[in-house]
Assembly symmetry: C4
Homo-oligomer: 236 residues x 4
């Protein structure tokens, strides 16, 4: 296993930029009420050449385990390789590191992973129920329901496998791991964080809708239309 000093200078530079971004992205989790205490984590793949193979360096940056959101800084972030081994950092990586690593290894198009215990998403996860697609903002971002992944506990690669197998069959960038909570993915750390914010938002709105009755169904072709437009036209 190589240490960070054995990597070429341009990789080390990219690691520094990723450390800064991952540190800043963590601030979004308490900001949007997705985490309490030290729960939750964001990781981002180290991209060496944006025009080349995005997984060239096979490294990612992640939060250290059990550290307060007040103590986060670029230096506190830790660097792991795609097998989840610690490559650089003075602290132990997040206890969810193996799940993040599995996603990076098996989904080369993915550049960011986020895990939270946000309350409404956890409620659907505790029941093992997918979130139905009853709002246009959900069609935009998720392209349909938010699916449920299997029950899996820390200790082997079963969480990572559950995430990858569930997301492969879905347009959704979010999966609700049963009795656990949401994992989200994206092309970048920022888009994975956005999906984490949005999955709680739609989990909450659809929970509230269901409390007093049933949502009106949205025809599948409208969901497809909205999803395709949003993925291709929205934003700058």
């Amino acid at each position: 296993m190589k240490t960070l000093n054995e990597y070429p200078a341009h990789v080390r530079q990219s690691v520094e930029l990723t450390r800064r971004r991952v540190s800043e992205l963590h601030a979004e989790l308490p900001r949007w009420g997705l985490v309490v205490w030290t729960a939750g984590n964001v990781s981002e793949r180290v991209v060496v050449d944006p025009d080349g193979d995005p997984s060239a360096a096979d490294l990612f940056v992640i939060k250290p385990s059990g550290v307060s959101y007040d103590e986060l800084s670029p230096e506190a972030m830790v660097v792991c390789d795609i097998k989840g081994n610690l490559v650089d950092g003075t602290r132990k990586p997040s206890s969810d590191t193996a799940a993040h690593a599995y996603v990076y290894e098996h989904m080369p198009e993915i550049g960011g992973v986020v895990h939270t215990h946000s309350s409404y998403a956890c409620a659907w996860a505790a029941r093992g129920e997918e979130i139905p697609c009853g709002l246009t903002m959900m069609a935009d971002e998720f392209g349909g329901p938010v699916p449920v992944g299997p029950f899996a506990v820390i200790g082997d690669d079963s969480i990572g496998r559950g995430i990858v197998e569930t997301l492969r069959d879905s347009r959704s960038p979010a999966v609700l791991m049963k009795n656990h909570g949401p994992f989200t993915v994206g092309r970048t750390g920022r888009s994975a964080v956005k999906a984490a914010v949005m999955v709680e938002e739609v989990a909450r709105a659809m929970h509230l809708a269901r409390e007093l009755g049933e949502e009106q169904p949205i025809p599948q072709e409208k969901i497809d239309h909205l999803y395709n437009r949003y993925q291709n036209v929205y934003g700058q």
Copy 2:
């Protein structure tokens, strides 16, 4: 299509003031918990001569598409004409611009439009259910229930039409577009923002009331009395 430089100086001055107001009004949306991430938008009509025809210039200012609430500034706001065409600005206008434009074109008395995905309002919208008028603050501001508009998707003028046709039959400055969320209008951008804050407030209180039973009905003549007083006497 004219560029902003082709408009007379007094129009350009009014555009600058409107840009500042619209930028500041956007801060109210996250402040009152109505939006997450980049969702939601406020627009205001450019008023050229407050004593004359308020739609003289046929311009309005709106938020750019998919931009964070941290990056908003008067300069970032974009200017569109009443057909929704970009007149000035370095960014793409909000993807809801066509709906705002339609309202300005067909409701000349309206000077401000707001759209959010606030959670409780979205829950009523997902069920396609109007918010019943069970609180005096609702009679004050909405003069009755908050009505539901048709299901419509982005791509033509069907959202704008749905808003205008629903609001024309109602005293309410807010409409819940089915499976989508609230749109609110007002004489100014500020009053449309107030309606967006209030529609979530009453959506929440009436949701909570219904969770444990039925509200006591308010007699129609009391609703009329409260609405007329509030519209004519309240405030400075």
Copy 3:
């Protein structure tokens, strides 16, 4: 009707201190999430000689109507006499001034009144249901259930009368006016604000308790014990 300048100097001094306190107490309403936009109001009786008759001057200080919580200052507060007439101030008093005045006139032991539209309290008020006493913190502060007052609309003294008649039969410093919302009273403005914070807190906790079943009843003698201890021993 006298203007403030016609009152003796020690009354004018007391008015200034009350203005400052009332202005500062308003900041507690948005802080604890009890109000949105310009809703809600706090008033406090002007106490001339704390050892003598607390209503000697028959004046109270209240929020101006429809003014934002960002614009509040001691100078913006307005002074009214016990009939609700404006005695000093550059703005129109709160549209709830008549209700506050009625309470000061008919409950001489009361030195502060607060009105909000806090969501959970409004939900019980919309159903016209008292909040049952299922938590020791409720026994402490309210000495039993929070009672419901009659439906009454602005325009005469019916809101004030409804508050006074309901509170006279109860140990509670809070009343839920039907289809309207909570009014609270206290020996000072600060204690009335505390009651406004606490009534929303217990309205919320008891709402959540009822959502999934029934609370365990607390025996009446325990409620009496807790209420008597808290009113006489708690605090400094």
Copy 4:
């Protein structure tokens, strides 16, 4: 009863450090929305020699009664002995001091105690219902359901006894005292505060889960596995 000046210098030094920590830990209660107004309290045992008997000095530091979270400072904290008698401080100790003292006297391994009236935990407490273990984060922190303690009122040692007797039969660091609210314990004040944050988090997520159905059960051996890993491996 000794005054603080009669204790040796190293005890007085430890008291000062504990005062600072307890003052800072109180800021976490409003930060995570666990308390309103002056409710809630944190205490920590004064540890004289961390390698020796942690209860050597038999002192603990706690919040004064009925004081606002804005006025807390190391100096405002009060020092009590293990019988709950005031040893140092200019203010009356929290009205829950006797319960904290009882825990320190009967659970020598405990170094911190927290009490709040957080809303979702209070809702389960009002019904006298334990929080079922339906999420992995709950298995991690609580090792099973959060148990309910007996109904007990202030005045003798019945609250303290109820806490101790309930926690002795459970892996949970939190107990929901019936019709009252949560008490949590920990090896330090900080870990007791963490348990107070987490008990509200799981009370909320499981409340939401139950609102729309039943949670999927987690097999007992998985709960055991998660609890053992988290207690021994998580964090730095």
